[in-house]
């Protein structure tokens, strides 16, 4: 049981479980407990199986930690170190904190997997039916079922990867403080909120990495955070004591930089809007020159703007790398022209690759877009990207080979043309393997509806004969059987012990299926007196499978 290669993160001695002393191990992927005297773990839980941890309240004299599993069972550990209560609590807290960090990682995996499966089943009714038929009725185990559907699973997973989950602008408001009764406030942070904070304020993430756990504990860090201006927008920045002071400064600087960058959209830049360069003394008589003097209010406003900007940027951040790479390609566009060996061998540069200094065309386009009264125009002309050709002839003729090709004269062309024409004229089809006309027509007649060969086909009628419900049921059973048979046949050739086991199991499963599903269906159909055997094919398939199994078994027996 004990794998030595496993990384041990924490060992706590003097931990009691069911009144037995022992040692608690926290490892890379699981939590384990060993009785003092033994060498093997008597308890071992994968983190993924753990639903939650609970700790005993401070008022209780025993210092305990409870692990609750997904299946509802629980294990309680009692910290019983000799160093007194404070040491016990310290032990407990160290376990608790480590678990706190570890559990979310595994939890996410499990819950997302579950969710994914759930989604798949909901989206795909056929699969759901199959699941019901096979798993719920106990024919195969869920693991087996999902194993065979992993391809869907992963493909579905991939598509979700593309979209980044954004940040809710009100994430800070979601943290509802609760009074703990005696002059204190309690904030509940979830992993999601922490992630949101980190995403929105990269500076906080940096600070977190710097300070936790070297200089302060996780909870101390967040306490500070809740005291900072991030949480209380109306708080002015206090002395240098606060670790978030330089965050605030940094944020302000960031905003300033952003402002100084000047906005490229001419319609939005208010600083360039006004058109008068006369002295201030001549203007602004009518303006409301009252300026507010309340700096806290001003900083609130500024912080709201900053917050919204950061939230907006948090969801942009992921998509940016792609844009960046395309940008770098654009800037390469110039060099592409000169060396001519890039993805654009024809020396074609789209007009978007113009660099930023030349803004007028963009500006003009923007203004035009604003002006257009689309309902007055006749046709919405398609937006086209202008081609700017480095070398026009290369675009028109494609890359020309380096050697000078021989040009054919017009006489030669005419001559070739004539030759072809003659050939066609002389061409006689060679039809040795073909039916005579009369025979062909006869066969066609037989094969048309009403012909001799079309007597037995009752396809059309079958559709109408069998009611929809029965059709569905047959189809369902057919699907389920196919799925089982797929499992069965996939075991051949039986190369391993596991497959051997599986094939035997599958054989019994098939039998079970025949007894539990197919036969009742057959009886039911029999009651309806259909003269066609609707289940015939299914039976054939089963018989084929049984034959295969018997053959395999016989072969195996002789081998022994």
């Amino acid at each position: 049981m004990s794998k030595l290669s496993e990384e041990v993160l924490l060992i706590v001695n003097h931990v009691r479980q069911k009144k037995t002393d022992g040692t608690l191990y926290l490892m890379g992927e699981r939590l384990a407990w060993m009785v003092q005297s033994k060498n093997t773990f008597s308890i071992s839980h994968m983190y993924a199986d753990i639903k939650a941890q609970k700790i005993s309240p401070d008022s209780k004299d025993k210092v305990q930690l409870q692990i609750v599993m997904h299946d509802g069972s629980a294990n309680t550990f009692h910290f019983n170190c000799s160093g007194g209560r404070s040491a016990q609590i310290r032990d407990r807290d160290s376990v608790k904190e480590l678990l706190q960090q570890l559990l979310p990682k595994f939890k996410k995996k499990i819950s997302s997997a579950l969710e994914e499966k759930n989604r798949l089943l909901q989206e795909n009714p056929e699969l759901f039916q199959l699941y019901k038929d096979l798993v719920v009725s106990g024919v195969i185990s869920p693991d087996e079922f999902w194993l065979s559907h992993t391809h869907r699973f992963t493909s579905g997973n991939k598509s979700t990867e593309g979209q980044v989950v954004g940040v809710s602008p009100a994430f800070l408001a979601d943290i509802k403080p609760q009074t703990d009764g005696c002059n204190g406030l309690k904030y509940n942070l979830t992993a999601d909120i922490i992630e949101s904070i980190f995403k929105t304020y990269p500076m906080v993430r940096k600070k977190h990495a710097e300070y936790v756990p070297h200089e302060m504990t996780e909870s101390e860090f967040w306490t500070r955070f809740f005291q900072s201006h991030y949480f209380h927008r109306d708080r002015t920045i206090l002395g240098t004591k606060d670790i978030f002071t330089d965050c605030a400064k940094n944020d302000e600087k960031e905003m300033k930089d952003e402002i100084e960058k000047r906005i490229s959209d001419p319609l939005l830049d208010l600083t360039r809007c006004a058109d008068n360069s006369v002295d201030e003394g001549y203007r602004g008589i009518n303006e409301d020159s009252r300026r507010s003097s309340n700096t806290t209010n001003q900083s609130i406003i500024r912080r709201f703007n900053h917050h919204s900007t950061m939230v907006l940027r948090a969801c942009e951040a992921k998509s940016k790398p792609a844009a960046d790479s395309s940008k770098s390609e654009e800037s390469n566009g110039v060099t592409v022209l000169s060396n001519g060996q890039h993805s654009l061998p024809n020396g074609v540069v789209a007009s978007t690759s113009k660099n930023d200094i030349k803004e007028p065309p963009q500006k003009k386009a923007r203004i035009k877009e604003k002006l257009e009264l689309e309902d007055l125009c006749t046709l919405k002309n398609e937006k086209v990207v202008n081609l700017r050709l480095g070398r026009i002839e290369r675009y028109l003729h494609g890359p020309t080979p380096a050697t000078i090709s021989k040009y054919t004269t017009s006489e030669k062309v005419i001559e070739a043309n004539q030759l072809v024409a003659e050939e066609i004229h002389k061409w006689v089809p060679d039809l040795s393997q073909v039916l005579l006309c009369g025979n062909a027509i006869g066969v066609l007649g037989e094969l048309s509806p009403g012909g001799a060969l079309m007597q037995g086909t009752t396809n059309q009628q079958l559709h109408q004969m069998v009611p929809q419900a029965v059709q569905d049921e047959v189809r369902q059973q057919y699907n389920a059987l196919c799925e089982l048979l797929r499992h069965f046949w996939s075991c051949f050739p039986v190369a391993s012990k596991f497959l051997e086991e599986k094939v035997v199991k599958m054989r019994s499963t098939l039998e079970k299926f025949q007894l539990a599903k197919l036969n009742p269906l057959k009886d039911k159909l029999g009651q309806n007196h259909y003269h066609i055997n609707l289940t015939g094919h299914m039976e054939d398939m089963l018989i084929a499978a049984y034959n295969k199994f018997d053959a395999w078994k016989a072969k195996k027996m002789t081998k022994r």
């Binding site: 954004g166 809710s168 602008p169 009100a170 408001a173 109306d234 952003e258 402002i259 000047r262 906005i263 959209d265 001419p266 319609l267 939005l268 830049d269 208010l270 600083t271 360039r272 809007c273 006004a274 058109d275 008068n276 360069s277 006369v278 002295d279 003394g281 001549y282 203007r283 602004g284 008589i285 009518n286 409301d288 009252r290 300026r291 507010s292 003097s293 309340n294 806290t296 209010n297 001003q298 609130i300 406003i301 703007n305 917050h307 919204s308 900007t309 939230v311 907006l312 969801c315 007028p360 500006k363 003009k364 203004i367 604003k370 002006l371 009264l373 309902d375 007055l376 125009c377 006749t378």
Partner: protein, 760 residues
């Protein structure tokens, strides 16, 4: 399509036309025929600009002697560029239809900041420094000196333009700011001076209001424009404020201190010149004695700011004797500045008329009215004689001399206000002296007198009859057009109370009330849950918005808003706001949705469109009254009452409603667009306010939408949005709100259109 507008062939560059565009052109044609002025209101997003351009262009081609030029004034640089693009579209259409490029020169003009291509000058982004640098390189005596001493830097673009540019006229075409720059770069000519030069022979000129309304600039730039021009003021709902700003001056103690420094510097300079070269000054003096108002012939590059008073008021006589010599003039200015400084030392608010100021000035320092009137010109002449390059340093002195000229020229229509401190900080002394124009008609009068047709137009110009009053002109036509709609794509409503029945209002007495603020918050929260994409909100003032945001934060309303949308807020810093806007649009673009809190009368409300998904709803929190405690406003109200019989309340309501309409109108930019317009104040439902909402909005503001609670408003909004989400194709519009040529020409449509007009 080719239209027949009252006998005039008009090329209209689209295949379809809105009925109101046709009517608009019809009205415009009539006023041009009558050689009179007009005021026209047409909803935004119904193609006002293109209708204007099409008709006037057709008129110009048909009667080239009747109209020679179109002067199109707009407010902001992006708007100028939009007009240029529309013009380009029209000209291209002409080319396509007639087979030849029309011989039309269209041109945009802006400040040097937007046109300069000299890399040494454009390093700075500040408009004033660019002007100053340009002046240093191009002023005539610097160029003169350069001829003897090539090490003195000059601007090669201007030199090349001066050498060659005047001979070769700008080829026909449409030139936006960037086109001018490109052309200038290609030829190596200065685009700014090229454009200013081409102004005189261009057919269509597009520039900002100030080039026509501010006498300091208009004298320089627009002096030679022909009288047979049509002048268009687009987005003119705020034109009176522009007029007032053009004539007003504001000074602080810092200005005066700087001014003293300027005088000292000039003094030293004069002493130095006297030692070396007294001739220069003598010559100037003699010229002034001879009666020349200007000692030198000013070239285009020499003048930075022209006389601040309108041309009619400039005295056509010689400079008075006591300020003819340079020293005397400086002494005179010194005395005047000292006098102003003593005036700024007051401890209480002063408000007086220019005559009483002049009287006091005469009693205290013996300065008469006459020489004061010449201050601006005399200073200009002196600066040119002294050959100072860094004119921008002298801005304080220029400001004071302009003030002197203004205060001594106008006895009426101006008020002088000295505020010793800010109202909210009475302990900090920060005296400001305002010379504020109260009569918008002073600045615009020369324009009305000079040009045969002046068109005042905007999307929101209600109530129309107010404009002729405050601008003092007689229009031949005034008309307000509504938007013909195949589906009601706007949903105006007045929310007057919260779900708790507490009245919703930004009235001064209750605006700080917690219940009111909470109800405003709830309205926004509920709306943000229902409305897709963008919501724009406007508050009455910045300070009010700030307090509301702070208390929303405390009440947890912000958190609730953030659950649905991202939140962006306008700040008093333009660059910061631009960034917030950019992110707001990004959030609307990527589907997260966003709320923008902003201020009526602010930069956002005047310059940014929230078309389509950038604004599916707009909420006006409160009636955006102007800050009524301002002394300048009080003086203006009094003046309007005494001289134009406009009651204070009428004007205040008018002003508030035009800004509310402007904010609310931002959301709808066309017939395919749709949006909810929420007026969140019970006072909007009163007749005096409701009547002042533009007709095209008022039409849809039925009685049942005038007294809603938050819940009801949300229900109405939901239903509206569900309706709007249905597919909407051209066929739905055709024949009703969109016409083909045949439909337009049909008799019944003509009758229907005729009945639609509402004359004011």
């Amino acid at each position: 399509m080719k239209l027949n507008i009252d006998g005039l062939l008009v090329y209209f560059p689209y295949e379809y036309i809105y009925p109101e565009q046709y009517l608009y052109m019809l009205e415009l044609k009539r006023s041009i025929d009558a050689k009179g002025h007009c005021a026209l209101e047409m909803p935004s997003g119904t193609g006002k600009t293109i209708s204007l351009l099409s008709l006037i262009m057709a008129y110009m081609r048909a009667y080239p002697l009747h109209i020679t030029k179109l002067i199109y004034c707009s407010r902001t640089v992006p708007e100028l560029e939009k007009v240029v693009e529309e013009l380009r579209y029209l000209v291209n259409y002409y080319e396509k239809e007639t087979g030849e490029y029309p011989n039309i020169l269209g041109l945009a003009l802006s400040s040097r900041k937007n046109l300069c291509i000299n890399p040494q000058v454009t390093q700075d982004h500040e408009g004033r420094t660019i002007d100053g640098r340009c002046h240093e390189l191009t002023v005539s005596f610097v160029r003169q000196r350069h001829k003897t001493d090539p090490s003195i830097p000059i601007c090669r673009f201007y030199e090349d333009f001066d050498a060659l540019g005047r001979e070769i006229p700008l080829p026909a075409g449409v030139y936006g700011l960037d086109d001018l720059k490109d052309y200038g770069t290609k030829k190596g000519w200065c685009p700014y001076f090229l454009a200013r030069y081409a102004l005189s022979h261009a057919n269509i000129v597009v520039y900002s209001y100030y080039y026509l309304l501010d006498p300091k600039i208009a004298e320089m730039v627009s002096k030679e424009l022909s009288k047979t021009s049509v002048v268009v003021f687009d987005e003119a709902h705020n034109i009176d404020n522009v007029c007032i700003e053009s004539m007003s001056v504001k000074m602080t103690r810092k200005t005066l201190d700087k001014c003293s420094q300027n005088i000292d510097r000039l003094d030293k300079h004069i002493q130095r010149i006297k030692e070396h070269d007294a001739e220069q000054l003598k010559e100037e003096y003699h010229r002034l004695v001879e009666g020349l108002r200007d000692a030198n012939v000013a070239r285009e590059t020499d003048v930075v700011l022209a006389n601040p008073v309108v041309p009619d008021e400039i005295l056509q006589e010689a400079v008075p004797g006591n300020i003819r010599t340079a020293e005397h003039f400086l002494g005179f200015m010194k005395r005047f500045v000292e006098y102003l400084k003593t005036r700024l030392r007051v401890h209480h608010m002063v408000s007086e008329s220019p005559p009483s100021f002049l009287k006091d000035c005469f009693q205290k320092v013996c300065i008469e009215r006459k020489p004061l009137r010449f201050c601006a010109e005399r200073l200009r002449s002196l600066l040119r004689t002294l050959q100072l390059t860094d004119i921008q340093d002298m801005s304080a002195l220029t400001l004071v001399s302009n003030f002197a000229t203004l205060v001594s020229t106008y006895a009426k229509g101006f008020v002088l206000i000295i505020e010793p401190f800010d109202d909210r900080t009475p302990t900090i002394s920060n005296p400001i002296l305002y010379l504020s124009c109260m009569d918008a008609s002073i600045a615009i009068k020369p324009v009305f007198d000079r040009f045969q047709t002046v068109v005042i137009t905007s999307g929101t110009l209600s109530p129309l009859d107010m404009y002729p009053k405050i601008l003092d002109f007689r229009p031949v036509t005034m008309a307000s057009f509504t938007m013909t709609l195949a589906r009601t794509c706007l949903c105006p409503m007045i929310v007057s109370k919260g779900n708790d029945q507490v009245a919703m209002t930004s009235k001064f007495e209750t605006r700080e009330d917690v219940a009111v603020i909470r109800n405003y918050g709830n309205l926004l929260v509920d709306m943000s849950a229902v409305v897709p994409d963008g919501i724009a909100c406007f508050f009455t003032s910045y300070i009010y918005m700030e307090t509301i945001v702070a208390s929303w934060y405390e009440q947890g309303i912000i958190d609730q808003i953030q659950k649905h949308k991202l939140l962006f807020i306008e700040t008093q810093d333009a660059a910061e706001t631009s960034l917030a806007l950019l992110n707001y649009q990004k959030a609307c673009e990527n589907g997260r949705g966003a709320v923008l809190l902003s201020v009526a009368r602010g930069k956002v409300s005047e310059g940014i469109d929230f078309d389509h998904h950038f604004g599916r709803a707009v909420i006006m929190f409160g009636v955006p009254y102007v800050y009524t405690q301002s002394r300048i406003l009080k003086a203006r109200l009094e003046y309007l009452r005494d001289n134009y019989q406009i009651r204070e309340n009428d004007f205040l309501t008018f002003d508030a409603m035009r800004h509310a309409a402007q904010c609310v109108g931002r959301v709808l930019r066309g017939k395919t667009d749709y949006g909810i317009m929420v007026f969140a104040d019970k006072r909007f439902a009163r007749a005096d306010k409701r009547n002042k909402i533009p007709r095209w909005i008022q039409e849809h503001l039925t009685d049942n939408l005038c007294n809603l609670s938050i819940d009801e408003a949300v229900q109405v909004g939901k239903r509206f949005l569900r309706l709007m989400a249905q597919p909407f194709s051209r066929d739905d519009q055709l024949g009703h709100s969109l016409l083909t040529l045949e439909q337009l020409q049909s008799e019944e449509m003509q009758k229907k259109l005729a009945s639609k007009m509402q004359y004011v």
